[in-house]
Symmetry: C2
Subunit: 408 residues, 2 copies
Amino acid sequence: MAEIAVLGFGTVGSGVVELIDRNQEQILKGVPEGIHVKYILDLRDFPDSPYADRVVHDFDIILADPEISVICETMGGREPAFSFSRKALEKGISVCTSNKELVAAHGPELIETARAHRCSYLFEASVGGGIPVLRPISEALIQEDITSIIGILNGTTNYIMDKMEKEDMTFEDALSLAQQKGYAERNPEADVEGHDACRKIAILSSLMTGKTVRYEDIPCEGISRITKADFGYARNMRMAIKLLGMSRRNADGSLSVRTAPFLVPEDHPLHSVTGVFNAVFVHGNCVDDLMFYGRGAGKFPTASAVAADVVECCRCRGSHVEVRWSDETLALADPSEESRQFFVRVGAASADAARAAFGDAAQTVQSDSPAEDEYAFVTGELTEKEILDRIGRLQDVRACIRLLDLGK
Amino acid sequence: MAEIAVLGFGTVGSGVVELIDRNQEQILKGVPEGIHVKYILDLRDFPDSPYADRVVHDFDIILADPEISVICETMGGREPAFSFSRKALEKGISVCTSNKELVAAHGPELIETARAHRCSYLFEASVGGGIPVLRPISEALIQEDITSIIGILNGTTNYIMDKMEKEDMTFEDALSLAQQKGYAERNPEADVEGHDACRKIAILSSLMTGKTVRYEDIPCEGISRITKADFGYARNMRMAIKLLGMSRRNADGSLSVRTAPFLVPEDHPLHSVTGVFNAVFVHGNCVDDLMFYGRGAGKFPTASAVAADVVECCRCRGSHVEVRWSDETLALADPSEESRQFFVRVGAASADAARAAFGDAAQTVQSDSPAEDEYAFVTGELTEKEILDRIGRLQDVRACIRLLDLGK
């Protein structure tokens, strides 16, 4: 029996413990001696849980037990998750985690520690919840020159925008519905302002390039400025508005990475990713377009990805499962040079100024809802610098949203 | 340098040879000594090819060369592909293939031969072209109890039906367009009659269960009876018609497998899989819904999947990459007991008889095209036996198409 420990008995941690019991028959296919959760580390006690007798409060008990070969770090946050993970790896205990904050901040360091101690640091659950996407990128697509990754990486914001689009709700109403349903936190900032999606595209970009893409270097814009009115125009253009994490190789070999809401045309596979689902769209030079779709959060989907990593660590015990991500920081392309089309709305009084600023390339668009007293249009292809400059000259700019181009 | 041989210098085989040159830098990440194509086996010569000097006509030359560690079998068909593959595996040479016909017919036998000789038989490219789907099912989802797999597994038929839906083309016109574009063979039977999709769902079902699902046991219906008129109703119901390979675990633990055209509701992720793309929708008991999407055919996408398997074989040289698929035949559930809703069209003269046969559960549906003199409706939930029985009592039945239920 492979003995493991779970750190943090919250939503994901309890999911891992339950999954390992429930799907032991499946797990035996990969780990014939079976997997057993020996310890659960938490500050709290869980007297009513069937796993009450496995709960411990002191990490050193786990560290001192030579039987433990894998730890699931489902605590979240930087500390003590970082120290615990590093100590475990230094003892040759593999660590599997769903903690995107820690992975985005200390991934390469923990991978290196794992390599040095012939164990593994795996984090499939940190991006896209239950979707197997990091392992396919690292393994099944190793022969590909991956040129772009575009993801719907945050289920909360996707749910909110889906409600705004389909049910014509305001941002505030959709957010409070998401909170009622348990999809959004009481403090929704990390989701709504794009920080969560930004960490995930940082992780994906790092695996894509093998270097470290720092999430602090990625321009990040959330969805809190998207309004009901924007969706009136989006629907009429047969587009959806999605918060995307995007990473693209430019012609000069540099990488542009960004997190922002985008208008996504109906023909793009990401258009139909609705509700709390996530999807990661990958373009490789030979395989062309791929998409991986599934539940980006939730107790059992996330636990499933953690459990997959545990099985992999148990199968490869005594050796290091290779993850190509060095601590060399990748300098990103200048974001102000990125070029694309934009959707812009300005108050009626600014319409003439907008026409003058954007010229003939601007195409007027209509809303499917009662028209407001404003002028809405899609620009020609402009750099971020150009749009900022032109928008800056106008009064009463009500929206400026990027368009996702097909075929890039 | 890992030396390999490619059997068959057709579309996929030449793609593999070119990819290995073009993406050698990526391949080095997985196989640090690099991969080199030493031989290309084909009946023809290719004097104008840059690879002309590697072409041989005698398989024994390859078999006798102790440097060869992996063979790519991209010949297609049963023989001599089967004999060549078996002989290679018996010498400890791993085989990677895109040959779904051979895999569906002899998969477990060749896997067993590979196991016995400490080498591997891998076939990612045999299902879903470039989409990494077999390896995720075998590895990243090993901890899951997979309860259903539903796939758009044939790009040719998906392209034809997409043209019929979007451009109101007849089946014959859409087929001949597909032939002009090189998406359909001159003899399109294997695609159009569902045999190709049927072999692929047989492979997926076998990997899902670990036993052999024989494609001969799977009820298989193609798309040649789907007409322009059917799409008029489908569009009005906001559904698409897709040829699906479907494998579902029933409440009693038995497995129902079928290949047939289905009406797919707009809310289902498979609905938006258009053109020549393929997608495999998987439901696991913990991970819930997943979908893998990408190019199901084509030179480089398919070559990419073959190359991924080659890299895996090179990384694991001297050991067997486990594929859980035994030669024990799985007895499938009685297909006549499957239960679902159906879309039915009958001539006007049969309308009363149809109303009598299907009762109040039948819901009339309209076409978005000029109405024909007929009665079209969606039935309540019926078994295959019941629908056959009721349809059998009617004259002038113009269509009977299954509905894909959401949430199963």
